[in-house]
Symmetry: C2
Subunit: 337 residues, 2 copies
């Protein structure tokens, strides 16, 4: 098959458009085709000589301070909407944005729409586990109030994601909870248990954050409110931990030596514990591959995000999710029987 | 006033009864009266010569593998129930247990009962903040499904706790959420906003875990499910962070030097980042002071927990909570008007 380019909203992110253009040009040099979407007069001068990269002009963009859905609805030619439209029109394989997460989601829902049978698209990323592996977590905020059947679908989406993007053959999927014994969990968790047990996945039951981050499973599902609290708690705690440990090392009598010793170690530490190793979060359940990168992305992070999105496209992530959800729905579906 | 002793369930915890007895005897030497509750034949030989400490015999105890409420109901003479009864009968000022948390809660609800006007007792502890302070969090698991008015009461209880136990004059209280802008939060959070706004506390609105752990407030309230997820996510992430950083320091060329350098730093790190600095969690909203210590407590932790409980008693924590809740209820109460 011909490899379609990845559409990149070059206007979004703290360091845009310099970081997005430089990162995209590196990807092009590495053999991954990319289309830059944004203000062509701003983008063109940033492209290094000798790099051949397409630019699709978009006159408008969505700022971090705008109401995402209202801004996206009003601005038909916002760069993020134009980028999503390229995927909808079959001119691009995936869309990546580093700007306003809500705007990217709104643009993709408008331009791409949901996969057949998907109740709710979900945001998914990975967190660092103590055993060196990655923990896939969804939903992270797209759906703050979920029904049991939404959590069931998240289980299937997480399963496919772990297979396609992390190359885990038979990922164990857990339901995030406050314990694992019978009777634990809140009303929502208890109602979701039988739904997840009926899904064609390796479901391991209720899992606490502690066990999940220490390797009890590869995927945890939860509603977007709880997932967002977990994600931000882990990120913040890693920040607190690094700060405290640095202070304690530097207060030792051999602090100068310590400073030299820990500099490189802290660099690797930040790399290993950053959420996430996949360069951002994916929006799953829409018709296309969508990656939401970190707003703070530098050219290296932009390049990594493009690589991860490229892998997802090559593996056929979006099609696999559609197929897995149809299969999961089929036994109880009234549409096709 | 005569200082009543603290009733300690000496049979609970991973290192009981040795750790509980040794810790209690240290507290007695430091001038804090303690009553040991448990099997007197097991406890008596562990008390060092020259220490005068009362032992109240309890023939039974609740194991970690038993169903807490069933076991507590069936065993009238379980050590944890006898300890709680001493408080109910006015013979002790507080009860501390290091065993099964559910059993301690069940015993206290049975023997002490709730304070007038309290909808739901709550479990409260502190987490380490990046600015060196402590973040008070409640509820942590006593109530996995909460109504808005429960969250309102948690706000009042957290406010009083921060004043009495952490000596913070005007604690800022936040509502744990996935963002702070209007429209963020799930249904529960949005419904709780006006309730918390009506409480006689310094309420600062919705707060994300990131901001809370970096010092945006001194207290966050949430339902017990979400609080438990946050607590365990923070604990696990701190564990992951410490492990990764240690690995990275030790893989440097000067690893031996690194090992020597970081040993003491890691000891202080663990102390500073352990949840929690108050030696465990309090159960608030019952008629009496109740502290749930860590199951892994050694004599030093037992001694610290006794000290913290002693402070809470001296400050009048339980009475203050009762008074503050009556005051908060009063404007809308139908009972006294």
């Amino acid at each position: 098959m011909t490899l379609l380019p990845i559409a990149l909203d070059a206007m979004g992110g703290d360091n845009a458009p310099a970081a997005t253009v430089v990162g995209a040009c590196r990807a092009v040099r590495a053999g991954i085709p990319v289309i830059l979407v944004g203000d062509q007069d701003a983008l063109r001068p940033l492209v290094p000589k000798g790099v051949s990269i397409d630019i699709v002009h978009a006159a408008e963009s969505v700022g971090m301070d705008e109401s995402p859905s209202a801004a996206v609805r009003a601005k038909k030619d916002a760069s993020i909407r134009v980028a999503a439209r390229l995927v909808a029109e079959g001119q691009a394989s995936a869309v990546i944005g580093f700007g306003n997460t809500g705007a990217l989601m709104a643009a993709c829902l408008m331009e791409l729409g949901r996969l057949d049978g998907v109740h709710r698209p979900a945001v998914i990323t990975t967190l660092p586990r103590s055993d060196g592996g990655q923990l896939v977590v969804l939903d992270l905020g797209a759906n703050v109030d979920c029904k049991p059947e939404h959590l069931g679908q998240f289980g299937v989406m997480g399963h496919v994601f772990a297979q396609d993007v992390l190359q885990i053959k038979d990922p164990r999927v857990g339901l995030l909870s406050n314990g694992q014994e019978d009777g634990k969990g809140n009303d929502q968790v208890r109602a979701a248990m039988p739904v997840l047990e009926g899904m064609p996945i390796h479901f391991v039951g209720q899992v606490e954050p502690t066990d999940a981050l220490h390797g009890a499973c590869e995927v945890v599902v939860c509603d977007g409110f709880v997932g967002n609290i977990m994600l931000k708690s882990v990120e913040a705690a890693i920040g607190v931990a690094g700060k405290v440990l640095k202070e304690e090392i530097l207060r030792r009598p051999d602090a100068k030596l310590g400073a030299r010793l820990i500099r490189a170690a802290f660099r690797r530490y930040r790399k290993r514990t950053s959420a996430s190793s996949i360069g951002g979060a994916f929006l799953l359940g829409v018709k296309g591959t969508v990656l939401v990168g970190h707003g703070s992305a530098d050219p290296t992070s932009v390049m990594s995000a493009i690589k991860v999105a490229h892998t997802a496209v090559q593996e056929g992530l979006s099609d696999h999710i559609g197929a897995a959800l149809s299969e999961a729905l089929n036994p109880t579906s009234n549409d096709d029987t």
